[in-house]
Every structure is written in structure tokens, then in C-alpha cells.
């Protein structure tokens, strides 16, 4: 039985289908709808899942968290003057070129925090997931990592793992002081989750086995 023409016909049909779907893909460009999921992002912002605290970031840097990319969105000149350990420079106007992979966790920071938060929105709009920003910027880093003030009040002192904070501060070359020596008194008003479990759920895919054909 000669099935030649039928096979040729179905092949032509399949080839045409592939061409059309491929051509449409080229016209569409992106594999996900381009519109920003405003409600979803707003929900993340409300749940404070968009940023990390300076202490958490410091802990991540010290523990060499796998796939961590610390990104300075200030100008190149400001970056050259001072930047966080392991940080890379990506000024706000060049943020689209960052292209983090899905296995990486990006933490953005700026001087105060506003530019980093805006960069966060831009990167999320580009479809990147594991992006966070340092809410208080370098000011928060200076206050909480480099110059933490340890309260003398024993009740307050019991609320925080001060030895770890001092340890972390010294690691980054900071100068922790006691509240009695600090004219401004204590600045600590909240609890800290060192691993960033609450503020930054670990969404990295676990490294799985490699597959063959």
C-alpha cells in the first residue's frame, strides 16, 4: 500500500503548524504576558516579602549564600568610593542589563533605599523573581551592621541575640557600642530573623540531579 501522498500531506501540515506557531512566537516575543501583575506585586509588598534587613543581608554575605548577588544601584563614582563587600555595580539606568538567572538571589541597595525599591519594581516587571532590596539602604547598613548599639536595659537585652550581632558587626569591621556610651540611646525596636526566613523565603530551586536523554 502506498502511503506516500498521505505522509507528505501530514508532514506539510505539521511543518506549516510549526512555522506559524514559531512565527507568532517571534511576533509576541515574550513567553509570559508582558503586563505587570500589579495586584500580585502589591500583595508581596504588603507582606514585606520584597526586602531584607541589613542584618539578614550581612548574614547572607558572611555565609556566602549560594547564588547571592549584591547589587549597588548608585552611580559608578559612588560605588567606587564605598560599596558593600561582594557587591557589583549596576547603576539604575543600566538595571535592565542585569539579567539574573533563576538560580540567583539578587539584593539591591542604594543610599537610602528608594532607588533600590524602584529597581526592584523594574526587575520584577522584567519577570525576575528572586529579587529583594535593602529597605533602609546604606544608612541601615551603617546603623545596624557597622555601628550597632547594644542596650544596657537587661529586659531589652534579653530580646535579641546581641552576641551574634556584635560578632557580625566585627566581621564587617564595625564598631558596636553600648547604649550608655551612645548619646542617641538604643535604636532597636524589632526582632530579627537572622536567616531571613520571614522576609525572604528561599525560592531557589534545589540543585537536582542532572538528566540525560
Amino acid at each position: 500500500m502506498d502511503r506516500g501522498p498521505a505522509i507528505t500531506r501530514s508532514r506539510r501540515l505539521l511543518a506549516a503548524t510549526a512555522l506559524i506557531l514559531g512565527g507568532l512566537a517571534a511576533a509576541v516575543g515574550r513567553p509570559a504576558p508582558a503586563a505587570i501583575d500589579v495586584a500580585g506585586l502589591a500583595q508581596e509588598i504588603t507582606a514585606e516579602a520584597d526586602h531584607v534587613d541589613a542584618i539578614v543581608l550581612a548574614n547572607w554575605i558572611r555565609n556566602r549564600r549560594q547564588g547571592l548577588r549584591v547589587v549597588d544601584v548608585r552611580t559608578r563614582a559612588e560605588f567606587d568610593e564605598f560599596h558593600l563587600p561582594t557587591a557589583e555595580s549596576a547603576p539604575l539606568e543600566a538595571i535592565a542589563a542585569l539579567r539574573p538567572s533563576s538560580a540567583e538571589t539578587v539584593v539591591l541597595y542604594s543610599a537610602g533605599g528608594a532607588h533600590a525599591a524602584q529597581a526592584w519594581v523594574l526587575l520584577r516587571a522584567l519577570g525576575h523573581r528572586n529579587v529583594f532590596f535593602l529597605a533602609g539602604g546604606l544608612e541601615e547598613w551603617t546603623a545596624e551592621v557597622l555601628t550597632p548599639v547594644i542596650p544596657d536595659d537587661p529586659d531589652l537585652a534579653a530580646t535579641m541575640p546581641w552576641s551574634r550581632i556584635v560578632d557580625l558587626s566585627l566581621y564587617f569591621g564595625g564598631t558596636p557600642t553600648r547604649a550608655a556610651e551612645d548619646p542617641h540611646g538604643t535604636r532597636w525596636h524589632r526582632s530579627i530573623d537572622f536567616e531571613g526566613g520571614r522576609t525572604a523565603p528561599d525560592q531557589r530551586p534545589a540543585r537536582r540531579w542532572r538528566r540525560g536523554c
Binding site: A15, A18, L19, L21, G22, G23, L24, A25, A26, A27, V28, G29, R30, P31, A32, P33, D37, A39, G40, Q43, R99, S101, S102, A103, E104, G127, R129, P205, R207, R208, R210, R211, G212, C213
Partner: protein, 198 residues
């Protein structure tokens, strides 16, 4: 919107399967894969070896068809919001171990004229060379596992993270999809031209 995407990401997550059901689904997909390979004639080492002598390019045509089908499916399912590509695992690049492994794999493929999938199909359809290849493959897996401590410097060397063509080339995803479709169709025509010369 977000919850919908989270629910519909990889199939197993979206249907909230237990581990047993997931394994059942995997077996079903595996049987379908083997069925398709056998229907394409790829359980036969003589057919596969034709690839290396450029007399029968069925392997190329079947595999590239599968690539194009999966690629178009993934792209459009993602576009329709059914699949979350961010959650699809992309194998990482490890230059040195993958070059070494690829070379070893190529030698084994050329010697046995079967690759892991097709050797299982050949074994399941009662071909003795298929059984021997599966035994060799399992032995290789076992030896690698036993020596992983010694091999780990190579195994973990030259990690480069995940690469995708759209990211590496800086070209929109859809354009890469279209280019691969054109490459495939051109490749099929070229393959049939080579086959017709014999």
C-alpha cells in the same frame, strides 16, 4: 492572577500529587516515551547506527521534532498562563565535566549504537544488545556513584550557572523559538536530501 500561576506551574505541583501519584505519572510518561521511540524504529541499533554513516537520519529527525514540539508547547503554554517557566528546572552548565561526560557518552553511543532511552526500549522489546547496554549503563552509574568522592573535583569544576539562548544572545525568547523552528525545518529537508543520495 499570581495564585493561578503558582497553582498551574509544573504539572506535579499544580495537581498537588502525592509522591506515589507523581511516580505513577512518571511511569506513564516513560511508557509513552518508550512507545514513541519504538514506533519511530529507534529500538533498533541498526537504525541508530545509520545516523553515524549518514544513511538513515531518523534519530536526528525524531529528536529535533521532539525539541520543536516541546519548545513550541512550553512557549505557548507559558504565554497562555498555564505553565510558569520560572519554575521549570534549567540544567546548569559545568563545562569540564560536561565535556568529559559528553565524550564518554559519545563513545558509548557509537559503540553500542544505543543511547539510554533507546537501550531501555531495545531491552524491553527483547533485544539482547539492548539488555547488555542497559547493564553497562547501570554499571557505569554504580561505578560513578562509588567513585564520586574521587571524582568530585571534576564533578564540581567550572560551574557556569544556567544558560539560555535568549539570555546568552540578548535576543527575545520568541525570536529564538522561530529561529529554532526554521533550523529544524531546514535540517529536515537537508537530512532527506542526504538520505536520498544513497
Amino acid at each position: 492572577m499570581k495564585s493561578v500561576i503558582a497553582m498551574t506551574a509544573p504539572l506535579v505541583d499544580s495537581l498537588a500529587f502525592g509522591e506515589a501519584t507523581s511516580l505513577g505519572v512518571a511511569v506513564g510518561i516513560g511508557v509513552a516515551f518508550g512507545w514513541t521511540l519504538e514506533r519511530a524504529g529507534l529500538g533498533n541499533a541498526r537504525k541508530l547506527v545509520g545516523q553515524f554513516y549518514l544513511t538513515d537520519l531518523t534519530v536526528f529527525k525524531v529528536m529535533f521534532s521532539a525539541v520543536v514540539t516541546a519548545m513550541l508547547g512550553a512557549f505557548w503554554l507559558a504565554r497562555l498562563g498555564v505553565l510558569d517557566l520560572e519554575r521549570v528546572y534549567i540544567p546548569e552548565t559545568w563545562l569540564l565535566p560536561q565535556l568529559a561526560g559528553g565524550l564518554l557518552f559519545g563513545i558509548g553511543f557509537a559503540l553500542a549504537a544505543l543511547c539510554p532511552g533507546t537501550s531501555c526500549v531495545a531491552a524491553a522489546t527483547g533485544r539482547l544488545d539492548g539488555l547488555a547496554t542497559v547493564a553497562g549503563m547501570l554499571a557505569g552509574v554504580w561505578i560513578t556513584g562509588a567513585l564520586i568522592g574521587v571524582l568530585s573535583p571534576l564533578y564540581d569544576a567550572t560551574g557556569r550557572g544556567t544558560f539560555t539562548l535568549p539570555n546568552a544572545l540578548g535576543v527575545p525568547y520568541g525570536v529564538v523559538v522561530f529561529a529554532v523552528v526554521l533550523m529544524a525545518l531546514g535540517g529536515f529537508r537537508f537530512a532527506e536530501w542526504i538520505e536520498a543520495r544513497r
